[in-house]
Symmetry: C2
């Protein structure tokens, strides 16, 4: 059976995966951009923004592994965009332009119904209002034998941990102190039935993998 | 001027520096012992328990640095022992036996007055009921030109961060998921005026240093 996995979620040393006050100018919240600097140092990260060059090594290897073998993605609404409440004129089509980097079906958890969006390059955004289990059922059907990547944000990952729906999680802990924002492991979460299974570090970032026991 | 520093505070990947339910059998709370396994893999850690052998390298270097140049230690009452409330018959003399490994004055923050304890090897335990600033003034006087080490636990470190009384902090993030316990960076703490200044990792543990800006 295909795995449900979290990959390359950048986390500050004080546990935040995004800064506070997300808006259109701050997709990762205030200060959250610093969490992703290690990504843009790699070949894979440079390629994401249309550049050549960058570093190979552990960080790059893990970014390549993060997107390999993924047939569907699930994300929370705030990872999809800064719009809150009803979708209104449906103008927001994601942070990623006309051709998002997914190239497979993406299921967006939201409380507000919206018609699917077909983007260029094989990405579709489908909006799921029935909760994590419903999104996972749709993602499993779409992914076939491939894995399902759980994108984020913090609350979405927490919902999947609470329900024990995620098989493995890779967090990249970076040398940044954010001070406030969104935590996966917050005061409300008790991650029952999970353990830390591996650790490896580059000179920039510490990679921890947590698996379901 | 001497520095106030936190060194080698082992932290789980989900942010806990101790497990829950500390008692005499569980000085670091339930499951908290796993936080310190990396220490006992080193030469310094083996020497602490009277053994020879162990590994040299980054982890050992940082443990040596942790105790070098320290002239006084400040700790919270729960780091000193599992006793709660009034001290009673004064039987509890710390977790460390007749000759504790400090060899300098140790100031224990507590709400309950108690006469000082003179231990073997130059360690004295003095009990301070007037709060962090008072403990720091006493520690500065005792340490002279040497540094002051802030031992823990979580709440004590938090009190010093909130008051901006600590100059640098070294956290060792280990590949352990604790799930519950005591966090330094909890939902109440906003670490204003601090930043993460360095990162280095061994194969066992990721070391992050946070400094006052």
């Amino acid at each position: 059976m295909s795995l449900v996995r979290v990959n390359a979620v950048s986390t500050s040393v004080d546990g935040f995966v995004a800064g506070p006050d997300q808006d259109q100018e701050h997709p990762l919240g205030i200060g959250g951009g610093a969490l992703h600097e290690w990504i843009f140092a790699t070949v894979t990260g440079q390629a994401m923004i249309g550049n050549q060059g960058g570093e190979t090594g552990i960080d790059d290897d893990l970014l390549i592994a993060a997107s390999n073998g993924v047939g569907a993605t699930i994300m929370g609404r705030n990872m999809f965009g800064p719009v809150r409440g009803a979708w209104g004129e449906d103008e927001w089509r994601g942070w990623w332009g006309d051709e998002p980097p997914f190239h497979h079906p993406v299921f967006v958890l939201t409380n507000y119904p919206r018609a699917p969006l077909d983007m260029e390059g094989g990405t579709t955004f489908q909006f799921v209002t029935d909760g994590p289990e419903a999104a996972l059922a749709l993602a499993r059907e779409a992914a076939g034998d491939a894995d399902i990547r759980l994108g984020g944000g913090a609350r979405t990952i927490r919902q999947f941990i609470e329900r024990r729906l995620v098989d493995s999680m890779h967090f990249a802990v970076v040398p940044v102190l954010l001070g406030s924002g969104e935590r996966v492991f917050d005061a409300t979460l008790v991650p029952r039935g999970y353990r830390c299974s591996s650790f490896v570090a580059s000179t920039r970032v510490a990679h921890f993998t947590i698996v379901r026991t």
